[in-house]
């Protein structure tokens, strides 16, 4: 029974991790850029959601309709001002443009909000559902369900809409997609925006569960990197399984090893995956496509 409890908690946590990582993997898949500022945008989303609650008493979940489009617009702006200019630059520019951005954003938050932990008190934050002997936090369950909806929504968007098809075409064969008239710049811009919009949702989902502070992103971004690398960089289905696996590993290692060692376990897994299977656990499909070309 205890084991079931641990597994369910792990999966719910994993759902949140999926939501944190899906934008990162989407951006990498299309733009081939590793966004080191991913965590800082999550931090912005969380502060946005906090402010809406504090100023106008808008519930974080309802606030998604403002925060997610807000992050989309921030994404467009960041793409135009920074990312666009390093698209063909050497590695050092691509890496350190987003690292620099992240440093600037975190310290701006420190200046504006100070280092205090700010949290949102909602009526449902402490509600725990009991099914048989299994106890489930309501906020975590809602987070999990939203993560599932968003992930499948994004799959649907990529599969059925014109824009989604254009994005996929651009990922699969950039040159051909340009030749058939897909506007590459627009695809990059929209993808970056969507990637950040998913963080807008993740931020709102996290807000009832977790306090916000200027460096909150650097904690979560490492988890997101682990998830994305585990699933294969750019692989959305992979990120979904990766998130659930990391959630499970975190809750199992917390129980069987020690809570302070949880992170150690998944960072070691992270380096092992990078070294042994850099294409990720699900990376075989991507590789086959390259061979077929």
């Amino acid at each position: 029974m205890l084991l079931t409890q641990i597994i369910i908690s792990g999966l719910l946590l994993g759902g949140i991790y999926v939501l944190l990582s899906i934008g990162l993997t989407l951006i990498f898949g299309v733009l081939k850029i590793v966004n080191f500022a991913h965590g800082s945008f999550l931090m912005i989303a969380m502060y946005g959601s906090y402010l809406l609650f504090k100023q106008w008493h808008i519930d974080p979940y309802l606030g998604i309709i403002i925060v997610a489009p807000g992050l989309f617009l921030i994404g467009i702006a960041v793409y135009v001002l920074v990312i666009k200019r390093v698209m063909v630059a050497p590695d050092v520019a691509q890496i350190f443009a987003t690292v620099g951005l992240s440093t600037a954003l975190e310290n701006t938050a420190l200046l504006v909000f100070h280092a205090d932990y700010l949290s949102v008190r909602t009526t449902y934050a402490d509600v725990v559902l009991t099914i048989g002997q299994i106890r489930i936090s309501l906020a975590l369950l809602i987070g999990f369900l939203v993560a599932i909806i968003i992930t499948f929504g994004l799959f649907g968007f990529l599969k059925y809409t014109y824009m989604g098809k254009a994005i996929r075409a651009s990922t699969q064969d950039e040159l051909s997609s340009v030749l058939v008239g897909i506007h590459r710049e627009k695809i990059y811009m929209v993808t970056f925006g969507i990637g950040l919009a998913t963080l807008g949702i993740a931020g709102a989902i996290l807000m009832p569960l977790y306090p916000v502070f200027p460096t909150v992103g650097s904690h979560f971004v490492l988890i997101a990197f682990v998830v994305v690398v585990l699933g294969g960089m750019g692989n959305m289905v992979g990120a979904m399984f990766g998130g659930l696996i990391i959630g499970l590993i975190e809750s199992l290692s917390g129980f069987f090893i020690s809570p302070s060692m949880q992170q150690l376990v998944y960072f070691v897994i992270f380096i092992l995956i990078l070294v042994l299977r850099p294409q990720g656990l699900m990376g075989f499909k991507l590789r086959r496509r390259v061979v077929a070309k």
């Binding site: 590695d91 050092v92 890496i95 600037a104 200027p214 490492l222 302070s260 960072f267």
Partner: protein, 330 residues
């Protein structure tokens, strides 16, 4: 031996710098200069692997921490002189660096950065949890017992000269790399690994050698830091922020050049103290906002760093690139 004009200028600058403590008897400025030496050493060590080898580490603070912890633990627990501790820390960091490098050196660009980032996180977790050895999150203080053997001094002048000598080491190594076989190998790998390999360059071995040297120097900087500041905090010494700051100085100054990191360290340190005094300590993070944005602007507009503005060679290269573009357009 006939000295070139450039060498004479460099030696003159060095002599002037070495005379600073004789004329300047102000602890505030001496402290600032010692900090510049430390940053120049760290950025210079990062530059050896990142600038010349293209290994863009985002976890160099891990080796700084290994150096600081090794010498301090040996000193505090066993009374071993930090001079020996410095060597021990350096060798340990080299060994760890080569082992980590052996595993991760084949990773490309951002993936290598991610692996090093994760490694620094692992080191933080170990340092915080191995309480018996490291006193966990409390950190360790270095006892104040001034003597040469203890590498602890009453005044700042001794630190000044030790720092000066240390920060020259990466410059000499970088100069050596620019005119030696291993340096040519390394730069060939950085520019085009496949081509270099096909010409018989043993790419992994060359990268590991420079990693061993770079991590050794970083750890030496760690010992110097611990002895000078007299306190190590695991959440600072292994932090991504510190790794970023090391890289930032080298990039802003100019990667892959002997003097770029020094220029970066000088500019950033002066900018820090100026911004701090101009804005007051209430605005704690302001200087970091400026650095972050500066880093973004520099990598976009002046990817070869500020030192490139003084070099004609680079201007010529830029002109050539412009020429290529027009051909493509036609």
């Amino acid at each position: 031996m006939k000295l070139s004009k450039k060498t004479i200028i460099q030696l003159t600058i060095l002599a002037v710098v070495a005379m600073i403590p004789l004329v300047l008897d102000n602890d505030y400025y001496l402290d600032m200069i010692i900090n510049i030496f430390l940053w120049a050493l760290l950025a210079g060590a990062w530059n050896l692997t990142a600038g010349y080898g293209g290994l863009l580490s985002l976890g160099h603070a891990a080796f700084l921490g290994i150096g600081a912890y090794t010498s301090t633990i040996l000193f505090v627990k066993m009374g071993v002189s930090p001079w020996i501790g410095m060597l021990a820390g350096g060798l340990l960091a080299s060994a760890v660096g080569v082992l980590l490098g052996y595993l991760t050196i084949r990773l490309k660009g951002p993936f290598f950065s991610l692996a090093t980032l994760a490694f620094a996180e692992i080191m933080t977790i170990i340092a915080v949890n191995a309480r018996g050895l490291t006193r966990g999150s409390e950190g360790i203080s270095v006892p104040f017992k001034p003597s040469f053997a203890n590498l602890v001094f009453q005044g700042k002048i001794e630190y000044f000269y030790i720092g000066l000598v240390l920060c020259l080491i990466p410059i000499f190594i970088a100069k050596y790399l620019e005119h030696s076989k291993i340096g040519y190998y390394l730069m060939a790998i950085r520019e085009d690994e496949v081509a270099a390999k096909s010409l018989g360059v043993k790419s992994v071995r060359v990268k590991l050698i420079v990693t061993a040297v770079g991590t050794f120097l970083t750890a030496v900087g760690g010992t110097f830091y611990a002895q000078y500041i007299a306190f190590i905090d695991p959440y600072y010494i292994f932090s991504v922020g510190l790794s970023t700051q090391i890289a930032l100085m080298a990039i802003i100054g100019g990667m892959g050049t002997p003097f770029g990191p020094v220029l970066g360290a000088i500019l950033i340190s002066f900018a820090s103290s100026y911004l701090r005094s101009a804005l007051g300590s209430a605005q704690a993070g302001v200087h970091m906002i400026v650095y972050g944005l500066l880093l973004v602007v520099i990598v976009i507009l002046i990817p070869h760093g500020l030192i490139s503005l003084t070099q004609r060679k680079w201007k010529k290269q830029a002109a050539n690139k412009g020429g290529d573009k027009t051909i493509v357009k036609n």
